[in-house]
Symmetry: D2
Subunit: 244 residues, 4 copies
């Protein structure tokens, strides 16, 4: 898979070699097949496209995504707080278009695995297709299954839940985790994390923490430097608990 | 390597099997050698210790660290924004006690690599020892070298700099990156990121952004739920740029 | 002066009694003249308008304002930090449409006074007209004058500056303040407050502080309670210094 | 009333002329009685004290306060959002040591009035004494009374509540407000503002908003400029509603 970028910075995902058509002209299948990352391709209208090695973010930006996606800052916090990495075993629910599973799959590598539960068949289908396009189908298993019906895996390093009532399955989550493993939930409403906190505490999860991350950009202009006027005020809360 | 945790939640790093002595009693070398993650070990004073699979954060908390360490929220932001993962090739400078390199090494896996430059010999030594203890010495190469003297690697996916004047080597960084690769710097002072921004822009880095992350915890108490009174107001700014 | 509000919540400023025309019908001059706060007025189309005692914010929302206006949160911080109140003597520059002067005038009362310097004649004119409409012309004196040419007043409790290079007149500001009086500046760019801080320090101002205020709203919905997705990321920095 | 400040910046409140004793020496009653704001007084040990006109914040910092005090940033937000000023009529409960009442009294002036309800006799006594010391006893009336027993005033511009269950008296508050008047509550816990919001909405309050204010300081050092490491993460939420 490649990404090609035109002179305006617009990016296109090229899943497999085939003729590429755009308002800046045509690039032949052959050109694309032979291109290496960093190369420049010329259209029949003499316009330049740069060939880029797609990273996970490029891919998620361009993939088919019909449902909302956890924002980067929250994914970063989950990765950093839970210490997941190469060879980790992770479960996530619900899959949605697969963005979270892709982020995890990108990190755990071939020695790890991601199990992703999605109750809706249409979402599971989109997610599978996206995951295959990015080449992580050996690492991520999408299950079109209601996680409330039970968790098949055990000895997990992380269970990540983006569900309306995540606390309904905390008992099963606890059993499925390795000692030292993490529960992480993402929830936009305070009532969700409040209830989750109380139930997780009762079930024996340790190191419980509810965290909210705010991200602000700075802009460097001719007149001076200042934080940007607009920022995201809230995406969701993250709750972490650990089986110890 | 194992971590054992006593009944108070205090954790100890066990680099290799040997008799373990604490105020709660002794655990024999043999017990430790035979223990699996999740087991409970009993001291001669009949106190329990839980055996935990150490993740990268447990290890960094307990390892030898004589210099300040980038906080988790910033590491998370770097990982999330740059999309690094399995098989990424990363350079970081300066190494310090190795915390950042360990975080990156934990993610890139055996197919990736981390090159970590540290000018001070004492720090480089500590870092090497820490990295070996965590078992990532095949993945992370610590170089006791001034990065201003030149970058040996190329085709890198990420160059991460935690230096006083990072912008002095942006030209070399640009050359060392793969197309699509990222420059990321961490700097506590606004003047540092301002200058870095201007120089990175002049050198042709794209998608430039300066980001600051604030993290706030919520507490769930008997009386109600509320954000914690105390929070970290600032650690540092992160600047990102991309070679496209 | 009165404010009348229709059934949709839309507000209208009534500077003096005269027939009022709107899409919801006509209210006669006589009705308006005789109305007390809290009364309901009926249009010839049988629509209701509520008569409201205008506070300073209602007025500023509805008055003629052709230039940008300091946002409420920053005005609140200035009032709270400097402890101004009844009988305070305040200077502000530049006036703009008069919003800041009106806020100060609303607080100092007839025993206090606000002197407001504005270099542009058109702004000074608008400001004067606004101030007269709100009935504070005995309390606020607008001067169409470049403050760099000198400050006429002394023994001031607060000098508030919203200028591009406020530090150019800090020496005159110092002389014009009472012992215990405050300098306060509002500036969007960090370079402005940085330079201001250094110069104010050199000139002997005490209790120097640069403050930034973030305001976030919470929303209470059917599904739960959460911070609003959108918030203002930055308006400006406030610098405070005191003559002691 | 005067404030005198020694060479180290330490401030002392002088309620009435009498000999002043400190580790830097004695100042005679006579010296104090004759001093004007801005004067310098010399102790018998030849140390200098500066005479300062106390503003409301100086006074509150130095007065007797045995209970916690709303922080400045929140007071500023209340003043700014409700547009109170000269001649406003305000009710606040509970009084505590009188800090909020003093802030309001400082603003409304002799044409306005503040009614402050405090259920505890000891607090009411302290508050009265503080208010008299600052000379606002003609403007602020402290009532040692449980506000749940009823509100005596009407036509109020603002009712400010710092109570555990403020919503218990929202109906009485509504009746006591002028058309256009504001309800404002301060509450540290989210459950308090959530319940308050729902009840206020049911009772017909308009322009409902829950606001949280974060304040961060910047520091200008030799090495550069940056936000301070430590900040207050939370004081309380403010809820505003208006009778329209």
């Amino acid at each position: 898979m490649k990404i090609i970028m035109d002179e305006r910075g617009k990016k296109y995902l090229i899943a497999k070699p085939q003729d590429f058509h755009s308002d800046l002209g045509i690039i032949k299948e052959e050109q694309i097949a032979n291109a290496s990352f960093g190369d420049t391709l010329i259209t029949h209208l003499n316009k330049e496209f740069k060939v880029i090695k797609p990273n996970i973010n490029d891919f998620i930006d361009l993939m088919d995504r019909r449902c909302s996606i956890l924002i980067q800052k929250d994914i970063g916090t989950v990765i950093a707080k839970t210490g997941i990495g190469n060879s980790s075993k992770i479960l996530d629910a619900g899959t949605g278009a697969g963005a979270i599973a892709l982020n995890f799959g990108n990190i755990v590598g071939p020695e790890g695995h991601v199990y992703s539960y999605e109750i809706r068949e249409d979402f599971a289908k989109i997610a599978k297709s996206n995951i295959e396009s990015f080449g992580l189908n050996n690492i991520i298993t999408v299950k079109n299954k209601d996680i409330k019906k039970g968790i098949d895996e055990n000895n997990l390093d992380l269970v990540f839940l983006d569900l309306i009532k995540p606390y309904e399955i905390f008992e099963e989550v606890y059993d499925s985790l390795a000692t030292g493993g993490y529960l992480a939930i993402y929830a936009p409403y305070i009532d969700q994390v409040e209830t989750s906190y109380k139930i997780a505490k009762k079930l024996g999860f340790k190191d419980l923490a509810i965290v909210e991350t705010l991200e602000r950009e700075m802009e460097v202009r001719q007149q001076g430097t200042r934080p940007k006027t607009r920022m995201v005020g809230h995406s969701g809360y993250l709750l972490f608990g650990r089986k110890l």
